[in-house]
Structure formats: C-alpha cells, structure tokens
Symmetry: C2
Subunit: 500 residues, 2 copies
C-alpha cells in the first residue's frame, strides 16, 4: 500500500490497535466490560422473545438504582421540569401541579443563571448553584466552604480525570489506591500514564486501611525512585461497603501530611449509611477539626455525585469536587482544564444544588421529600441485610457487613476445578464464576478481579439495588447457582486430580 | 521541610505548577481565558452597582446564544420537561399544556429508555436515541447510518478528547489542524502530548484550504520522522465562518485517502448557513458519493452538537460523533473510553435525538417549530451582514463574508504603536486590542492569536449573537472604539518613531 512518490516513513495501518495510544489499549474498566456487554445482548434477546434460562436480566453490576425501578425524588424532578420549560411557570395550571417552594426554587435558579439551562455557565458551575452546594457543605460539616474551591462536574468522574491529568507526568508518578478499588481509578491512572501504587484493605478488619502497610508501600516505591503524589480513599467503600471510623480517617490525614500526599476523598456514598453506630464524616470536616496546622496545609479533594445517595440520579450526570488547601496557580490550571470542555451540564448542576439544599422542615415539599428519602434508605438497609445473610448462608463464602454504599463484596472459596477451567480459558476464576452466573440466572455482577484483590482471593461485587419484590428471587437464584457451581467444579477438580 | 526519618527523594512541593503535568500547564484555551475572566468581574461589578464606562457586558466571545436572550425551541423543551417529570403525563392539565406529538414523543422515550433520564444509559447512548439520530443522519445525507457507529456525547468536546487520546502516543504524532482553528484542538493536542501540524487557510480565498500547502506540510513533517495521524476540518468554519465548496471537500477526502489520514470533521455549525448559493454537505455524504473504494476505506469522524445550530442548547451538553470505516477493535477502544465516564447525560442525549428528528410537516408542533427556526436563522443572517458591513466600514479592517457558523473574523491592520505597547506588556497586539475593547465598551471578543493566524496578521473573533435590539449599539461602540484605538496608537507610534 506504500505510494511511490512519497517515500517517507508512515504507519502501515493508520487506524489499528497497534497504532493507538498503548495506555488506552491497556486500560481496563470491568464495570462495563465483557459481562455487562453480554447482559445487554441477553436483554435484547428477551425483548425479541428468545428462550433463555431466565426471563429477566438483573443488573447488579452497577450502582444505577432507577434502572431497577427506584423512583426519583419528586422535589428534584419538579424543579428540574420547570427549569427545562420555564413557560410552565406562567401557565395557570402550574399552581395546581407544583408546590410553592418548587416554583420559588425554579424562579430563583432561572433568574440567577444567565440563559437558564440552555446556556453555557461558568466553567466551574453557575454561581448560585455553587453557593447552594457550599451552603450544603457548611450545613453538613459546620465549617465554611469557599465557592472558589468548588467545581461542579458531570458526575464525579471528571474530578478524577482532572486530578490524574494534573498530577501524572509519567509512569514514575504514583497514586496510592485502595485494593479493592473502584476501577475508575485504575483506568484513569493507566490512561494518563501513571502508576497505581496499591494498598490492600484488610478484609478481616472490616476493610480498614492499616498505617504500617501504607508506610511500607510508600517507602518501597520511593526507594525505587518513584514519586508518590496522592492517596485515594473511598468512603463509604466501593466495592467493599465499609464506613471508615473517624480515627482511621485522622490516621490517613496525618499520613498524607507527613508524606506530603494529596488526599483524594471519594465520598459519593455519603448518604448511604446503614450500619448501626456508623456515621459519615467528610474528610473536610475531620481535617478542619485536627488543629490549624493540618487544617491549613493538607491538600484535599472531596468528591461528590448526584448518581449515588438515596436519590441515585445517575442519568443526568452531576457532581462536584471541593479542592481544599490548593495553591491558586494550581486551581487556575484546574479551571483551565474545566474550561476546555466549557461547562458541566446545567440540569446536573441544578440537581447537585438541590441535593445539597433539599427542602427543610416547614417547607411545603418537606414531608413528601422526607418520606421518600426514608423509604428508600430503609429499603436499601433491608436489602443489604438480606444479601449479606444470603452470602453468609452459602458454602465457602465470607461476607463483611454492608455498612454503607451500595455493594456487597463477598469472598468466595474457589474450587480447584474452577481455577483450572478458568486458567484453560485464560480468564480469572471469579470472571468465570460471574459469567456462568449471568448465563444461568440473568444476574449481572462484577468479578473481584475487576477491582483488584489480594492474590489468591476471589470476590464478586453485587449491588444491593434490585427492588425488594425481586430481591428474594435474586437471593434464591444466586444461592442455587452457587451450590451447583461449587458441586460441579469440586467434582471436576476431583476427577481431574484422580485422572492426573 | 524534609523529614529526617524518611530520607528518600520526594517532591519538595507536592502541589505546585512546577510539579504538575507540563502538558496541562502549557495548554491554552483563549475562549475562556483572561479576557473572559475579566468580563465576569465586570458583570459582577455592574450587578453591584459599580460605575463603569459601559452599562452592559456584551458576551461576543463565545457561541452561547441563549445567554444573550435567544429563546429555546418550544418543542424541545416541552418534551424535555415531561421526561424530567413523567408524573406530568398523568396530570389532567397535561393535555392543555402539551401538544399531542410532544406527549407522544415523551412517552416513546420514557418507555424505551430503561430508568428514563435518571439512569445511566448504554455508554454510547440509549438505543432509541441513537436510532433517532441515525434516522436524522440518513434523512440529511441519503445514506444509511449504523447505530453501532454512533456515540452520543456531552457536547462535541468528548469526541475530540477521545480521538486525541486514542491517536496521540507522544509528541512525534501530529494532527493537521487548520489555522485559524477552534482552540479545543490545540488545547487537547497539547493535553494529550501530541503535536499540532498547522495548515493555513487562505484568507484571500475565503478561508479555503489549498492542497499544495497541505501536501508541503505533510511532506515536511514526515521528512522529520513525524507521524501524521489525522486531518481536522471545521465546516462551517470556526472562527472563520466559511462554508466549504463540495469540490474542496472532495479534495480533502482524496488527500486523506492518499496520505492515510483519519478525517476529523467538526460539523457542529451544519444548520448555520447564511450565504446565498452555499449549502452544507456532510463529509459523510460527500465521501459516500465518491465511489465504493473511497466510501469503504477513508476513516471519518463526523461530529455534531446541540450547542450550535439555530437551537443553541449549550447548557445541557449534548452531541454525537459518527465513526465511519473504523475497524471493530478501534471502536471497542472508543467504547471503553466512553464507558469509563459511564454515559453522557440523558437530557443532552434526548435533545440531540430531538434535533435530528424534529417535528415534520403535518405534526401538531410543526408550524410553531418551523416559525421559531425561521425567525432565528433569518435574524442571524441579518446580524451577520450588519457586523460584516460594520467591519468593512472601519479603517484598516478587512472582513470576509460570514457564510456560516456564528462568527465574524475581521483582520486588523495593527498600528506600530499598538504593536510596541503590546510587546512592552508581553502580550499579542490583538490581545491588547480585545482587552481595551472590553475595558472601554464591555464587548467581549477573542483575539485572533487565541486561534492561531498567519504570522504578522491580526484578527478578532466576535460572535454574531447579540440580540438584534443590541446589535446596532454593539456595531457603533465597536466602530467608535476602533477609530479611537487606531488614532491613539498611530499617534503613539508616530511620536515614538519621531523621538527615536
């Protein structure tokens, strides 16, 4: 295919895996990987009336509550519908349809955001909405929040992209990430050409981080000439479901201060707390209450999202990050990065502001809001317990309590036969398990290998989100599958060992 | 600040410009740069009642029509409001508020998108919405569109980010970009570590590209061992406002075929055509009609956005790209990249589908839709003409016709005094011009240096978007400023020359 009149070097294949950026090709994102893709095919086949071993696909692979039937919060959607179509405000029926605080909030936002939802806003988000988010943070923490430190974003993902882009210069730059971790971290670290420095969460201690291990990892990396730039903490945990003790948070902050690490706190599950005696404390709050020296020096990025919590507004993509103790020139760079994509979507911005400033007692919408919130959180709590009980009742399965977030992450004892079969197929054993689970039951999960796990251990992540009406069925199908899987591969393993 | 017990190498300043990714620090994005930031300060000051030399800020720096008072399209917003708050569909007043085709469309989308706007969709966009976009593309081009080749996106920016991330491996990889260009290209090429290979548009030939120059640039780059990966074309032009002739498009396609370049066609202004005798042809259509060999081999990315056109729905961030003749493994990588951010926002996806499938003659909403569209496009046409006439009436200014898009890009003869003053301040002369224009008149523009221009030439980009009621005032203020600027710096220059 070379042309003769232009004899200089040129890629033989301009558009092929071999000539793409190798970091892109190497990046992995299991949450939407092969199992999720196959589940979409099954869903299509069911729709077309094809006979399958199951009559429904249960999407337990992703924290996406509304796809499983969770209702949206009425107050949020009412305000958003008026912002979409402001002419409704002048319609005589509007007062029948909308409570007065909904109309008032919509009028406030529409009069304060130039051009409404149809115009680009400031790249960090519309001022009024950042103010409302800041008020919510202040109410939550009892400490001031400067809107200059706030970036509204399309979900929490952009915060992670921005930080990785800013901090990673080459593969010598490391980010300390919990293992298991949400693969947004491993994927973006790879995409932007850095190195993930793992620290293992202690499953036997309820998935807490231990200082000794963190220190060893940092010291080992530095002795190899690596730069350790930041520490990622996910609290409440994903995929692990733990809620950190405040003391543990203080330990992590002191470690960041001592080692001059930027603390990246993924706090998107901050309203998803189920365990008795557990509370969410933001890293901002904890930091601010550790004395003026630390409070004014540790660089912290606190991330939040509208996709999680009890509201689960995944589809509109909203979020924010607060950058604490960031020097102005660095903030200017993050502003520039945001400005290159102009601005986050306005509906997502508005929804984030509503979440951080929901109706208060006495407001016309408060009672409905509170009852909707209560119903969802209580139901999530029941579902979490049902799932954990289910896993604890299975042979060879251990499962920590789901203290918070939206996931159970049980540990499986994998029969030798399954490990052999997986090895033969070039897969991880827990991938084999999850794929067979999908093929036989329609339940979509993510193998622990997609999040990272201690070598030789095997896990499955499942959300706690199927509706309560389905949950018992999911639990039964899962248990039956597990029993059959174990039997089959224990026999296979035994047979192979016998014939070896 | 070094601690003694940990004597290994460590960044002295973990969070400072000196330790950030240098590609981020080097990237520039003038559209939201210093002039735009200062204009926001002025706006705030006016709001607080401060006396300034002007009583209003005219944001002509960015294609953001609704911030300047352009009304949104009723049909789009009606459907979107129902999708936000589906309970409205069951309200007895809904039939008074909404025409039947609006209700029908909302019902179709809500019943076809699992979880509605509150759930993550497929990472490439909800199937029904991709189908509607595909139908729109087919209607536009007269050629089939496979939804497997479509990615819905948050505005057009993600398409550019994805392509740059995928194609650029190191600074040896080059992307051919028009100069002047929209700085999303220069910024992302820098961010992802590649090299911008410029090709100059011929101002004297209505900003067309010339084959001879393109060939010289590619040959020169290759002779230095560079890899030329892709050719960016912006049609209609930004900041230059030209509409490419079909013949010119064919030439560019043949050039990409011969040089094995990926054609990145930025077609976000496809409905913004004002010049008599000019029409928009998508590169997809032109390619498909150049014979089966080319049609099946040239890799093309065609990008569109909901932010431009006559609708200008900037704030909700919607867009799509169609990847034509991309090998499946490469499409898989682009899918993965999209999946790492889960999905584009649903309101933006829906708006994109509505734009590509608007009401048709006979539909209840058609008449209103058509009259709103006509009014906006006719007004834009009048404003484009008024601005061009204004610039042509200024001393030392040349201005090509605004054939399409949303911008005039007049060329200024810069007095020596202004060039000296700018040099003294370490600025570009057109930056000085635009900053003084803002300081004295409140008109916000972007200097030509933010887009790139032939050395020794100076330009200003201004949108054609101020409302017609303001347009005469903007034109007068601009003319008066220009006259005073020229006089001042011609005198300064003369005085300095005299005293030298």
């Amino acid at each position: 295919m070379l042309t003769l009149h232009n004899p200089v070097r040129r890629e033989p294949e301009p558009l092929a895996l071999s000539t793409l950026n190798p970091n892109l090709v190497a990046a992995e994102y299991a949450v939407r990987g092969a199992i999720a893709i196959k589940s979409a095919t099954y869903q299509q086949q069911l729709k077309e009336g094809k006979e399958l071993p199951f009559d429904k696909v249960y999407q337990c692979n992703i924290g996406n509550p509304q796809i499983l039937g969770q209702k949206s919060m009425t107050f949020f959607r009412q305000v958003l519908s008026l912002c979409e179509y402001p002419a409704l405000l002048d319609h005589p029926a509007s007062k029948e349809i909308y409570p007065p605080d909904v109309i008032e909030r919509a009028r406030l936002y529409l009069s304060s955001i130039p051009g409404g939802v149809g115009a680009y806003s400031e790249s960090k988000g519309a001022v009024i909405l950042r103010q409302h988010v800041a008020h919510g943070i202040e109410r939550r923490d009892g400490h001031p929040c400067d809107i200059d430190n706030l970036w509204l974003t399309d979900g929490a993902s952009p915060a992670v992209h921005y930080m990785m882009k800013a901090l990673l210069r080459n593969e010598n730059d490391c980010i300390l990430c919990p293992i298991p971790q949400y693969p947004l971290y491993s994927a973006t670290i790879k995409l932007y050409g850095g190195t993930l420095l793992p620290y293992f969460l202690e499953e036997s201690q309820g998935w807490q981080a231990t200082l000794k291990h963190l220190q060893e990892q940092v010291d080992a990396a530095r002795s190899q000439g690596k730069q350790v730039r930041a520490l990622v903490v996910i609290n409440p945990g994903n995929p692990t479901g733990q809620v950190l003790d405040r003391q543990n948070q203080e330990t992590l902050i002191r470690f960041c201060a001592k080692e001059k690490l930027i603390l990246m706190a993924d706090e998107v599950y901050q309203t998803n707390i189920y365990a008795a005696g557990k509370s969410f404390f933001s890293f901002k709050k904890v930091l601010m209450e550790m004395g003026p020296e630390l409070a004014s020096s540790v660089a912290l990025v606190s991330m939040n999202s509208i996709s999680k919590g009890f509201f689960g507004e995944c589809g509109r993509r909203g979020g924010y990050f607060e950058a604490v103790n960031f020097p102005q020139p660095v903030k200017d760079q993050l502003y520039k990065l945001a400005s290159i994509s102009l601005c986050p979507n306005l509906s997502g911005q508005i929804c984030m502001a509503l979440i951080m400033n929901p109706p208060q007692p006495g407001d016309p919408s408060f009672e409905l809001f509170a009852s909707e919130r209560e119903a969802i959180l209580e139901s999530l709590k029941r579902r979490a317990k049902l799932l954990v009980d289910t896993f604890r009742g299975m042979e060879g399965v251990q499962c920590n309590e789901v203290e918070g977030s939206m996931y159970a992450f049980p540990r499986l004892t994998m029969p030798a036969g399954a490990r052999d079969e997986a090895a033969k197929e070039g897969k991880q054993p827990d991938f084999l398990y999850c794929m067979e689970l999908l093929d036989q039951t329609g339940i979509v999960t993510v193998p622990g290998s997609g999040f990272g796990q201690e070598p030789g251990t095997y896990h499955v992540r499942t959300t706690i989100l199927p509706p309560e009406a389905d949950m018992a069925k999911v639990a039964t199908k899962f248990s039956e599958f597990h029993k059959a899987f174990m039997q089959r591969y224990e026999q296979n393993g035994a047979r192979q060992n016998g014939s070896a």
